[in-house]
Amino acid sequence: MLELLPQQLVNGLALGSSYALIALGLTLVFGVLQIPNFPHGELYMLGASFTYVLVAYGMNFWVAVPIASLAVVIVGILLDQVGYRRIDTGGNLSLMISALAMSTVLQQVATLIWGAEPHTTLSPLPGVLRTAYFSIGYYQMLIFAATIACWLFVWVVLHRSRLGLAIRAMSQNKMAAQLMGIDLIWIRIATFAIGALIGGFAGSLLGASFPIYPTMGLNPVLKAFVILVIGGVGNLWGAIVGGFVLGILEILVSAYISSQLQDIGTFAVLVIVLIVRPNGLFGRAEVLR
């Protein structure tokens, strides 16, 4: 079985990059605003659904992706304004419940509009790269590249732009940020917009390889929370590394132990990580460094 290892590792990287892509937006919103944005999974679902609809109406896939992602940004900002802003001081628990309620509402709206039947956007980039040791779809490579690009994008925004400066300031010291003359409301909106953009983009891309249906975001967002904990809340690099670690881990458990134990393996690792390091693998203090 060991001769399959290269292929399995490639499988793991491909799976991991889809996880990382979803975790990225979640960790940003969580790190800056301390909101466990459970409906990130539904933003992902909406990105996929919007793209599907646009492509079904004949739009070119590559045109549809940015349009769908931007549409998701609007939904994301609405989520924040409707569901979170009002209860921002209400503590973690209220935020979590509000998040789950919005998650349910979005799923149901999607069911009412598009039905529950799974569908997939046709892959715009079929074809497979085959080597002696492994094979990988071109589209999977594209997603891998997109994951790295998104990470770079967020990194550049946070560390090379004025907006990013303000976001980081807000996450480190809200009071001082206000004293700099920064309008926290706009920074908040911007943060949510970026988070939603990446979530929608992830869905838009992944909807061309995975089935799209109203509850498709549930599993990925659970995994993303695991990644968040492994990688450290608000730690962008941790989200990427955590995503890949989780992806490879799942594949290896499935391949070398049992495909029945895939999920147990994942969540058992989460439990063990938290037992050994109650604040996550890379610690809690790494917020947006």
Partner: protein, 232 residues
């Protein structure tokens, strides 16, 4: 320039400030003294807009600022150096300064140069994380950061807190040179020597009210202040 009339403010059910009236003249410098618990920090927070006024009026440059947001006040020229410095610990010195000039966009060369001239130490450490600096250095950074906003009124909340005499001297020197540039200063302090060095007029707060008021030199040398502090 700044005129505070009959201000009242506080937290929840606790009213800390009652009926405070303070004036700062154009290019003037005023110190507000008082022992801990007198309401000094609350006054600062009310002026910079972090805390709503329950009563009274804050007028700045002829405009009523009573209900304005903190950001609006910064834009109008009221810039606060908060108590306990509050630098952004995980950001570099340079990034802290860039945030200081937020309302003017990216910092211009001359502004930065001015800050570094004032505090050469900061220039040396421009790429160091602020959280790793000593208390005195952090205070200088907080001061420099506030100056990046090109304030017309600089509001300082106990800048000497926890600082060594050497560091206090540095702060004093900086404040004097800032004043010389025509910036009005409202210094809230416990430390009399800094107040003596900087202040023209002084107010003494006691349990949320103005107990004394007068020219700084006169007031500070009087026994009344010491009494209010040491309970003679």
């Amino acid at each position: 320039m700044l005129s505070i009339e009959n201000l009242a403010a506080g937290y929840d059910r606790l009213e800390v400030l009652h009926d405070i009236s303070i004036k700062v003249e154009e290019a003037g410098s005023v110190v507000v003294l008082g022992p801990n618990g007198a309401g000094k920090s609350t006054l600062c927070r009310a002026i910079s807009g972090l805390l709503p006024c329950r009563h009274g009026k804050i007028v700045f440059d002829g405009k009523d600022m009573t209900g304005a947001s903190p950001a609006d006040r910064v834009r109008a020229g009221i810039v606060q150096v908060p108590e306990g410095r509050q630098v952004f610990p995980d950001m570099t010195v340079l990034e802290n300064l860039r945030l200081g000039s937020w309302i003017h966009g990216e910092p211009k060369g001359p502004d930065l140069q001015k800050a570094f001239d004032l505090f050469p130490r900061l220039a040396e450490r421009r790429n160091q994380n602020a959280g790793l600096m000593s208390g005195g250095e952090q205070q200088l950074l907080a001061l420099a950061r506030a100056m990046m906003a090109r304030p017309s009124l600089l509001l300082l909340d106990e800048p000497t807190q926890g600082l060594s005499p050497v560091a206090i001297e540095q702060v004093a020197t900086a404040l004097i040179s800032i004043r010389a540039q025509g910036v009005s200063i409202l210094l809230v302090e416990q430390n009399l020597s800094l107040a003596e060095a900087v202040g023209e007029r002084a107010y003494v707060l006691e349990t949320g009210r103005c107990a004394l008021e007068g020219p700084a030199a006169e007031l500070l040398s009087s026994d009344a202040v010491a009494a209010s502090y040491l309970g003679h």
